[in-house]
Symmetry: C2
Subunit: 393 residues, 2 copies
């Protein structure tokens, strides 16, 4: 893959955070490839890229194939990228075979899907679908304080089109599963029927900095010690609701982070997920109660920065994927996505579904992420068939 | 204080990490002030600065007044600085009053006392006293990978004198207590009889990065979750040996530190202290046992990066401080230092002691650190009397 060179890490993964120079580079490459197969490229004011191949009937809204080209800081070569590249291959195949479709076909690169640089994830498909306002998204800042808006302008990808003013008649997304189920059961295709609910929180714990050698234990207000209890509570709450629930503290920043200073302040994040929003609500309440105990005498603040309820995908789109897998004789099963995807937002404004293929060991958000070439090809074939079947309807 | 402007923070503290541009600035200022009162300034190859006022008898090794001008990232205006500035005021007073001493009087700025940028603390007084080799010290790297040697050259403070080739006939250090005892008991002077033992460790925990949404709880190898248990163990071990023991995890770095990635690796530090080295040894063993439990199936590695045994100061020097406080009618008490100080190393090669003055609330390594002006003046008076009494002996 060409794209795997842009941001390649020594351990074989990719670090291509949203709206960085490397993101610009992969976007430039993608746009050039699309233009080379006769597509028109438009960009909206959230940096989402739409590469359109015209259809016979200009009155029809396009059928879209979308995913993302950004990665985690230690991400893999498959997460997101295969969805965009499969779309590009389909544009190429249609172009080279001279196949005409009724509706236009569009391949979309959604901006900042990972949510690693700018929280929350799926920020720009979220604006597209009306889940967030553009102004709120513009103001989201990374951990160095740079805003989404400044970063978007920095790489020259603020387009003229108003985000969301772009009707789609359907949206399909090919993605690696990022979990262990398909591999476990030896299936090649996951027919994705929905996405579980997910909530993100930001927590700040305020203690008091003190000398590590001269401050007696009884006089300490150690923000990191309280945080250690909270990290265990997040884990314990997820275990209570397992196997369906997950809970993660993925980011922690301790201040001043000096070996001989009692930590004065800690910032950390919580990620809770469950297919049932009512359980997520219970987990949130349990977290508030646990943190109040864990904090002891220390002050703390919890902010919910993301609440993305569980999503059910469109029946007709799901059927198209099921039929395509059956027609190709590929072992398939229905599956609920554990990860969030742009499709979860696009589903609010267009009939949508996804196709999963297995990844080795269920490993993702890891430089060792990998997928079998023939699985990805099978997924792309299901994608093509689903799109063409939708076009014929 | 002039020095408080160099690296001033918005919250009223100082951030002047060792061997940064700000450190160069305060050193340049200090050297100029010393030259202005007729001193000769020499610098050794660890960047330690010696400002000498000649005595009547050139055969005598100097009596030194030393401390440090570096600070913590969110440090105060008193820690270290008052010891150097009191020395400078004494040079000025001797100069202006035309007072002659038998031995030369030297004021010393020791490099990288805090140990925040380059671990361990008191690195350059340690080389001076033969506790570390110069080459080992040169190779110490900060968290961005920059070495001590490169940073020293970067600010132009590698002097021609070989570190350690500089005999001293005594060493006195004025410092804030950094703990609550003097204030608690309404004493103005701490007659420091020794420094407790301290050990530093670096710990790396290796888990496996995974997707926070799609990796079931039972398949996780969460390095931060294991670290959370270890942080609590450090605290529990210190509490077992309290009130004399302290234990701190001051620095933690989680990788890749992304909200939706199960943490794959964590680096953190441990600081254990106790006046009795045997208890410190027991705490170390307890830590190894606890971490082995806390890690579960995860791999981890612990390195002891510093072992500074408890120190007893010189009886004659301690007597000089006691006598000076009594002569001035200042309420005083003997005290063991909870913090490490350059004097703890210099004591290996010259008769040494320290003078403590109270700080508000016992607070140090905190931007809110403060001390009463008249306490600092009292401490400087005790310092001057102790130095002159030693000179007369
Ligand atoms: N697919 C994927 O990794 N999305 C990132 C958003 C999330 O699920 O955390
Ligand atoms: N005095 C002081 O704060 N020294 C720093 C070294 C330590 O005690 O941790």
């Amino acid at each position: 893959m060409q794209t795997a060179r842009i941001g390649a890490t020594p351990k074989g993964g990719i670090c291509r955070l949203a709206l960085t120079e490397l993101d610009r580079e992969v976007r430039d490459w993608f746009c050039a490839q699309c233009v080379a197969v006769g597509c028109t490229v438009t960009i909206d004011d959230m940096g989402n890229i739409f590469a359109r191949r015209p259809g016979r009937n200009p009155a029809l809204a396009p059928i879209a194939i979308g995913s993302h080209l950004d990665t985690q800081p230690t991400g893999g070569k498959y997460d997101g990228v295969i969805g965009v590249l499969a779309g590009l291959e389909i544009l190429r195949a249609l172009h080279e075979s001279g196949t005409d479709t009724e509706a236009p076909i569009e391949v979309i690169d959604w901006t900042n899907e990972e949510g690693s640089r700018f929280a929350p994830a799926m920020l720009s498909s979220g604006v597209f679908a009306g889940a967030f306002t553009r102004e709120w998204a513009y103001g989201r800042a990374d951990r160095t304080g740079d805003t989404f808006e400044a970063a978007l302008d920095g790489i020259g990808y603020r387009g003229p089109e108003r985000c969301g003013a772009h009707p789609l008649s359907a949206h399909f997304e090919l993605h690696i599963e990022q979990g262990p189920i398909l591999e476990d059961e030896d299936r090649i295709i996951g027919i994705v029927t929905g996405v579980q609910g997910m909530r993100w929180y930001e927590v700040t714990v305020d203690g008091q900095e003190g000398h590590a050698g001269a401050t007696p234990m009884r006089l300490r207000q150690d923000a990191l010690l309280a945080t250690a209890r909270m990290i265990q509570s997040v884990n314990a709450i997820a275990l209570v609701h397992a196997p369906d629930a997950v809970g993660t503290v993925g980011l922690v920043e301790s201040r001043p982070n000096s070996r001989n200073v009692v930590p004065g302040q800690v910032f950390f994040t919580v990620d809770f997920r469950h297919p049932d929003d009512a359980v997520l609500e219970a987990m949130e309440q349990e977290m508030h109660a646990a943190f109040a105990r864990d904090a002891g005498a220390l002050a703390f603040a919890v902010t919910q920065v993301w609440n993305n309820p569980a999503v059910m995908f469109d029946g007709a789109c799901v059927d198209a994927v099921r039929d395509a897998a059956a027609a190709l004789g590929l072992p398939a099963r229905e599956i609920i996505s554990g990860a969030g995807h742009d499709s979860a937002y696009v589903a609010r404004v267009a009939p949508t579904t996804m196709i999963f293929v297995p990844c080795a060991g269920g490993l993702s958000h890891n430089e060792a992420e990998s997928a079998e070439r023939h699985h990805v090809v099978a997924g792309a074939s299901v994608l093509l068939r689903s799109v063409l079947a939708t076009d014929r309807r």
